[in-house]
């Protein structure tokens, strides 16, 4: 136990923990949305994320940026970020749609048992990640330094960089946008209706298939942006990183209350912080162990997660 270390590094462990947590939260949204509507866990969502991350790398590579490039100048930084986010979000949303069409819809039409969905989703996940593995010869690829990582300003002894601001900021913006979309738009009303009672919603004229498709697309868009932010933060990408990150994001979704958008945000940030504090206190080898002990203990007392399970009943 290194309490002094934790105290003296508390600020920095907090900022980096929030940064990682924001990425978890964006990916967690995809799990939560699909669960809210289908009552199923989309285990292929981690590969929706990986697709976005690779799409961003390939986009940058198309502009001639390699792992050794540094981008400078506000104009080009914004340009490269926006283009990458756009391409990544579209790529992820496309893959999410394909997964829905291939691994979910045909089974739904035949009233398959939930286990069958689980297996097709895991199958789709393995197919996609292995395809990237073969394509990249299982090597990890460096990402260009699109956003400067030098500290921008300091709070006490903690430097805050553009990278951290960008990640936490865009995660918050995306999250608020999605929350508003679900709570205010027509489609959002449809999503809430289907998640409360699919059959009644269908009787009221809501097209269930279309709503489910929209949910996959929305989750895909979030995961695509998360993929770009992951590249900005970590700076290298391998085909296999989706699995663990997906597991963490899924954990974050359950921690906050699966099916609950704000819960996903809270769960993600909390998980990121717990991991960092644990590695500060006990050493990095204990971070996963501690994070999951916290999860189990929390679920013992609040089985539906911190904010409860409620996509349908989310209040505006």
């Amino acid at each position: 136990m290194n309490v002094d270390g934790l105290i003296s590094n508390f600020g920095e462990l907090t900022t980096t923990g929030l940064t990682v947590g924001a990425i978890y939260a964006l990916v967690a949204l995809g799990y939560t949305l699909v669960y809210g509507v289908l009552r199923l866990i989309n285990f292929a969502h981690s590969e929706v994320f990986i697709t976005g991350a690779y799409a961003a790398l390939f986009t940058w590579a198309a502009f001639g940026l390699t792992g050794n490039s540094r981008v400078s100048g506000v104009g080009s930084i914004v340009f490269y970020l926006l283009v990458a986010m756009l391409v990544a979000a579209l790529a992820s949303a496309t893959v999410a749609t394909v997964i829905e069409r291939v691994a979910y819809r045909p089974l739904r039409k035949r009233n398959a048992p939930p286990l069958a969905f689980l297996i097709t989703a895991i199958g789709a996940s393995i197919v996609i990640s292995e395809a990237f593995g073969v394509y990249t010869r299982r090597l990890s690829r460096g990402a260009p330094a699109v956003v400067p990582s030098e500290p921008l300003f300091r709070i006490g002894n903690v430097g805050i960089s553009w990278v951290e601001l960008l990640i936490v900021g865009s995660a918050l913006v995306m999250m608020v946008g999605l929350d508003q979309f679900i709570n205010r738009s027509r489609v959002g009303r449809g999503i809430r209706a289907v998640s409360q009672d699919p059959n009644t919603a269908a009787l009221m004229g809501v097209n269930k298939d279309r709503i489910i498709m929209m949910v996959f697309i929305a989750g895909g868009l979030m995961a695509g942006v998360a993929g770009v932010l992951y590249n900005v933060r970590i700076g290298a990408l391998a085909y296999s990183v989706g699995f663990l990150l997906g597991l963490k994001a899924f954990t974050a979704a359950v921690l906050g209350g699966i099916g609950n958008l704000r819960g996903a945000l809270l769960g993600g940030l909390l998980l990121g912080l717990t991991e960092n504090y644990a590695s500060g206190l006990f050493g990095a080898q204990w971070k996963d162990l501690t994070a999951f002990v916290v999860l189990v203990v929390l679920l013992m007392f609040r089985p539906t997660g911190l904010l409860g399970e409620s996509l349908g009943r989310a209040r505006a």
Binding site: L13, T16, N68, L139, G142, I234, G235, S240, L244, A284
Partner: protein, 386 residues
């Protein structure tokens, strides 16, 4: 319509199976026809895919080059290479070891390449009496397990660890060193040797997860930063090494990173980026290309279009020891084991002779320091052994 499609697909699948099966049968009968005294195989055992694959591929290429040369000179009795891809994972190792053991034509193994997979596979090899020469698994305790078939054609971390510590003290003049390891058999063992040799200069330690499992190191980076270390030693492989270097640099940590043979690969620089990797030091019981004898480097380049990587040359020598045994008519595993045990000879790296525990004779061990300069790994100097 849909049912028709399913039937067509099914038919195609059945056809593919039949064709595949026929092809498999054909190749089986081919190997039988080649007779008893020929058709032997040498196994390369190591990571050919996965996050640490570059190290395995370097060695497999070295072995392939040795076999290629041998087969050109012995056209009537060729030896084939059986590469077994462990993905660097101890979990895969026992099953692959069994596969090598069950194939009666296999007379020897080059590998296992990593220490972790060695611990899992070597007991099986020892039981079966199948000789294996590793060109890169450097955990010292591997030779202390009583495995009868273990040989190591390279110096171990009892030499490499203190040499790294010596370099940190004498050349970098660092008196505040932070030591990180990846909790693997190799990385943790090496980090322990370095800690022992550095003593009170170690001001902090942390452990991360290897094998491509961890990509986010902010907790560790924070600790390094607040410790004020001027040098960081990482016991582990290049994938995590590159990410750690990048994360350190991004966090503004300028301390020099020192790693060892598992990190000495161009993929480290790819992961870290040229700018962050600049100045990183590696120690390695491997020779710079200019010190390797004969036409090895040129032959390698002609065959693969790239310069030999870390341990390509050691693996080449290890394969040649086994090939010399086959050439001398050692047709059984027992004969082969006895042959390697008594072997003395010259390879492209140096002279080979094994102690009774299977270690390379201490007089032949050399440790070199390398440095990253402008995106290239260049040799610095030979580190004297304490």
């Amino acid at each position: 319509m849909r049912q028709k499609l399913v039937r067509v697909l099914g038919g195609v699948a059945a056809l593919a199976l039949a064709v595949g099966g026929a092809a498999a049968c054909k190749s089986d009968s081919g190997s039988e026809a080649s007779g008893d005294a020929c058709g032997f195989k040498i196994v390369f055992f190591g990571a050919l895919t996965g996050s640490d694959a570059a190290l395995g591929i370097n060695e497999n290429n070295g072995v392939k080059l040795a076999l290629d040369k041998y087969n050109k000179e012995n056209k009537d009795c060729e030896v084939t290479l059986l590469p077994l891809d462990s993905q660097g994972s101890p979990d895969q190792a026992p099953q692959l070891a069994q596969q090598a053991i069950d194939d009666e034509k296999v007379l020897g193994v080059v590998g296992p390449a990593f220490s972790g997979e060695s611990e899992a596979a070597n007991p099986l090899f020892s039981e079966a009496g199948l000789v294996h020469i590793t060109a890169s698994a450097t955990r010292p305790s591997l030779s202390e397990q009583g495995w009868k078939t273990f040989f190591r054609s390279v110096g171990n971390d009892n030499a490499q660890g203190p040499a790294a510590a010596k370099y940190i003290k004498d050349e970098l003049k660092a008196d505040k060193v932070f030591v990180i390891d990846d909790q693997s058999a190799y990385g943790a063992g090496l980090a322990d040797e370095v800690k022992k040799a550095l003593g009170s200069a170690v001001i902090g330690t942390d452990k991360v997860q290897g094998g491509g499992k961890q990509t986010e190191f902010s907790g560790t980076v924070t600790k390094v930063k607040s410790s004020g270390a001027t040098a960081v030693f990482f016991g582990g492989y290049y994938t995590e090494g590159g990410l750690i270097r990048k994360a350190l640099t991004n966090a503004g940590v300028k301390a020099t990173l020192i790693g060892a043979d598992g990190m000495k690969d161009p993929a480290f620089i790819d992961g870290a980026s040229d700018a962050a990797a600049e100045g990183t030091i590696f120690t390695c019981p491997c020779l710079p290309p200019a010190e390797v004898k004969g036409t090895f480097a040129a032959d390698y380049k002609a065959m693969y279009g790239t310069d030999p990587g870390t341990y390509s040359d050691n693996a080449y020598d290890a394969a040649n020891i086994l090939l010399a045994g086959i050439k001398a008519g050692k047709n059984t595993r027992a004969d082969m084991l006895a042959f390697v045990k008594g072997y003395t000879g010259e390879g492209v790296v140096g002279s080979y002779k094994f102690t009774d525990k299977g270690e390379l004779d201490p007089s032949a061990v050399q440790i070199w320091a390398y440095k990253v300069e402008k995106g290239q790994i260049v040799p610095v100097k030979r580190v004297p052994l304490a």
